[in-house]
C-alpha cells in the first residue's frame, strides 16, 4: 500500500508537468513526496511494505530517498530551461518519468521487473542528454551510454531467465536460499552492473555521458544511475557468493588499480566536468572493491559511499554548471580565480570538494574508512592501492578547488550575476545531508 501510494503520486504528477506555470510546483511536490517517504517509513530494519510486487528494505529505502532528492534538485538546477522556455514541460515529464523508473527499479520484488526498469531508466536519461545537452558531442555520448549499458545487460537478461528456469522463482527475497554455482552465470549476471558502476575497463561511457549531459542529466547520472549498478550487485551477490569467493580478486584488482590510474588521470583534465566524472569512477572503484570482498563492513562502506558520493558528485556538477552558466566554458583555464567574483560560492566549492576527498565530518569519510578496513582485512597489499587512491583523490579535489578559486582570473570576463538564492539553496541541500547524516548513520549503515 505504501509503495503504491508514492507510485501513484508520481504518476499523477505527469499531467501536472504539462500545465502552464507548474515548473516550481512540480519541484515542491517532489520535496513533499520526499518528506512523506522519509517519515512514513521509519521501520527500516527489515523488509517492509511488502505487497504484491513491491517491498522496501534498507538499501532500497536509502536509494529511493536519494533518487527523489536528486530529482527535485535537478528541477531546481534547471531553472534556465524555464527562463528560456526551452521545452521545459517535456523536461519535467522526463524527470518524473525517470524518477518513476528509478523508484520502481529499487522497489520491485521480481528480478525480471528489476531488469526491465533498470533498462527503462536509460531512455529518459538518453533523452535528457541528447535533448538538453550543450555540445554536439552529446550524440556520441548518448550512443556510448546506451550501447555500453546494453552490451552488458543482455547477458544479465539471459542469466535472469536461466534463474527462473532453474529456481521457478524471481522473487529477490527468496534468492538468498539458493546457491548458483556456475561461472558463466556469475559473469553474465554481474557484468552489467560492473559496466554500470563503472569498473575501470568499461568506464569509457562515463566521462562522455557526464560531460555532455546538461546539469540535470549529470546530476542524475552521478547521483543515482551509477548506484543502480551497486544496488544490482548487492542484490545479485546473495546467490552468487560461492563463485564470488573464488573470482572476486579479478574485479577487485581491476577496479582498485583502475581507480588509481583514473585518479592520476584526473590531474590531466582541463574540463571541470570531466575531472568530476573521473573522480566518480575512482570512488566507484572503491565501492566495487567493497562489495566484492563480501564482508559486512565492505557492504556497509560501499552503501554509505554510494549515498554520499551521489550527493557530493551531484553537488559538484551543480557548481560546475553555475560556473558554466556564467562563463559558458567548462575549461579550467577560463574558470580560474572565481573567488574574486563569487566568494560565497567558494564556500560551497570548498565544502563539497572537501567531502569529495573524504575529509571529516562528511559521510564519504565513514564510507571510505569502512571500505579501507574491509579491503585491508581481505588482503594487506590492497593497503598500497587504497593509500594511493585516497591520496590522489585528496590531491585532485584540492587541485580543482585551488585552480578554480585562487589565482588570477581570466581577463576575458565581463560581468555576471553573483549567485542567486536558488543556487545557494541547491548547494545547501546537497551539502546538508552529506555532513549531517554522519550524526545518525544507523539509518543507513546498520542492516540488522
Amino acid at each position: 500500500m505504501m509503495m503504491m501510494k508514492f507510485l501513484f503520486m508520481m504518476i499523477f504528477m505527469i499531467p501536472l508537468c504539462f500545465m502552464k506555470n507548474m515548473f516550481w510546483l512540480v519541484q515542491m511536490m517532489l520535496f513533499f513526496m520526499m518528506f512523506l517517504f522519509m517519515n512514513l517509513n521509519l521501520n527500516i530494519m527489515c523488509f517492509f511494505n511488502m505487497s504484491y510486487m513491491f517491498y522496501c528494505d534498507i538499501i532500497s529505502f536509502g536509494l529511493i530517498l536519494l533518487s527523489i532528492w536528486i530529482c527535485s534538485l535537478m528541477i531546481m538546477a534547471s531553472e534556465s530551461l524555464f527562463k528560456l522556455n526551452f521545452y521545459f514541460n517535456f523536461f519535467l515529464f522526463n524527470v518524473i518519468f525517470l524518477l518513476i523508473m528509478l523508484y520502481l527499479t529499487f522497489s520491485v520484488l521480481n528480478l525480471l521487473l528489476f531488469y526491465f526498469f533498470f533498462e527503462a531508466s536509460l531512455i529518459p536519461t538518453l533523452l535528457l542528454i541528447i535533448g538538453w545537452g550543450y555540445q554536439p558531442e552529446r550524440i556520441q555520448a548518448g550512443m556510448y551510454l546506451l550501447f555500453y549499458t546494453l552490451f552488458g545487460s543482455l547477458p544479465l537478461l539471459m542469466g535472469i531467465i536461466y534463474i527462473f528456469n532453474d529456481l521457478n522463482t524471481m522473487t529477490i527475497y527468496f534468492l538468498k536460499f539458493f546457491n548458483m554455482n556456475m561461472y558463466l552465470l556469475y559473469i553474465s549476471m554481474i557484468f552489467a552492473f560492473l559496466v554500470k558502476m563503472p569498473m575501470y575497463f568499461v568506464h569509457l561511457w562515463l566521462p562522455k555521458a557526464h560531460v555532455e549531459a546538461p546539469v540535470s542529466g549529470s546530476m542524475i547520472l552521478a547521483g543515482i544511475m551509477l548506484k543502480l549498478g551497486g544496488y544490482g550487485l548487492l542484490r545479485v551477490m546473495i546467490f552468487l557468493q560461492e563463485v564470488n569467493l573464488k573470482l572476486n580478486y579479478i574485479w577487485i584488482i581491476i577496479s582498485l588499480v583502475g581507480g588509481l590510474f583514473i585518479s592520476m588521470k584526473c590531474f590531466c583534465q582541463v574540463d571541470m566536468k570531466s575531472l568530476i566524472a573521473y573522480s566518480s569512477v575512482a570512488h566507484m572503484s572503491m565501492v566495487i572493491g567493497g562489495i566484492m570482498v563480501m564482508n559486512y563492513w565492505g557492504f556497509i562502506g560501499s552503501y554509505i559511499l554510494m549515498i554520499s558520493h551521489g550527493l557530493c558528485s551531484s553537488g559538484m556538477f551543480c557548481l560546475a554548471n553555475i560556473n558554466y552558466e556564467r562563463l559558458h566554458s567548462r575549461s579550467l583555464y577560463i574558470n580560474s580565480g572565481m573567488m574574486n567574483f563569487m566568494p560565497s560560492m567558494s564556500l560551497w566549492w570548498f565544502l563539497l570538494l572537501s567531502s569529495n576527498m573524504a575529509a571529516p565530518p562528511s559521510l564519504n569519510l565513514l564510507g571510505e574508512i569502512s571500505l579501507i578496513n574491509s579491503l585491508v582485512s581481505w588482503s594487506n597489499i590492497s593497503m598500497i592501492l587504497l593509500m594511493m587512491i585516497s591520496f590522489f583523490s585528496a590531491g585532485y579535489s584540492l587541485y580543482l578547488y585551488s585552480y578554480i578559486q585562487h589565482g588570477k582570473y581570466f581577463q576575458g570576463l565581463y560581468s555576471f550575476y553573483v549567485g542567486s538564492s536558488r543556487e545557494y539553496l541547491l548547494l545547501f541541500l546537497h551539502w546538508f545531508p552529506l555532513n549531517m547524516m554522519i550524526l545518525k548513520v544507523d539509518f543507513i549503515s546498520i542492516w540488522f
Binding site: W24, M28, M38, W69, S420, R422, L429
Partner: protein
C-alpha cells in the same frame, strides 16, 4: 397623490437640483484644496525598481517571491527540519537500542558470574543433526 405619480421623474428632479446647487456654489480659487485629486504621474514604489531576484523567476517579482517561499518551506522546513527531527528523535526503531542495552547487561552479568560470554551449548547438542562423513567428502572447504 399627484406627487406619487410624478415619482418616475424623480431622477430628473434630483439631477436638476444637483446641477442647480453646483452652479450656485461655483467659485474659483487658486489655493490648494483637500478635494483636489493628485494628478502627478504615478511612481513605481521604490522597492520594485531594482529588485534582485531570488533566482526563481526573473520577470515577475511576485512569482519569484512565491516560488522562493514555497521552495524553502518544502525543502528546508519540511524535509530538513521536520524530517531531521523525526529521524533524530524517532523512538527506538525496532527496539534496536533496547536490544543492545540488554545484550550489554547480559554480558556484564555473565562476566561477574565467571561464565563465558556465550555458552558452547547454547543450542542443545541433541537437537543438532550433522551429516555423515560420507556425505561430506566432496564438499570444498572455504576459509
Amino acid at each position: 397623490m399627484a406627487a406619487l405619480i410624478k415619482l418616475r421623474h424623480m431622477p430628473l428632479v434630483q439631477r436638476s437640483v444637483w446641477n442647480h446647487f453646483n452652479k450656485v456654489s461655483r467659485n474659483i480659487s487658486t489655493s490648494k484644496k483637500n478635494s483636489d485629486t493628485a494628478t502627478t504621474a504615478c511612481e513605481t514604489k521604490t522597492e520594485d525598481k531594482n529588485w534582485v531576484s531570488y533566482g526563481f523567476d526573473y520577470t515577475s517579482k511576485e512569482e519569484d517571491t512565491n516560488a522562493h517561499h514555497a521552495t524553502f518551506f518544502f525543502s528546508v522546513t519540511l524535509c530538513i527540519v521536520f524530517g531531521g527531527v523525526c529521524w533524530a528523535y524517532s523512538p527506538d526503531v525496532h527496539m534496536r537500542d533496547w536490544a543492545q542495552r540488554e545484550a550489554f547487561l547480559e554480558l556484564r552479568r555473565r562476566e561477574k558470574a565467571g561464565l563465558p560470554p556465550i555458552s558452547p551449548n547454547f543450542i542443545d547438542p541433541k537437537l543438532i543433526k550433522l551429516p555423515d562423513e560420507s556425505e561430506l567428502c566432496d564438499v570444498e572447504i572455504i576459509i
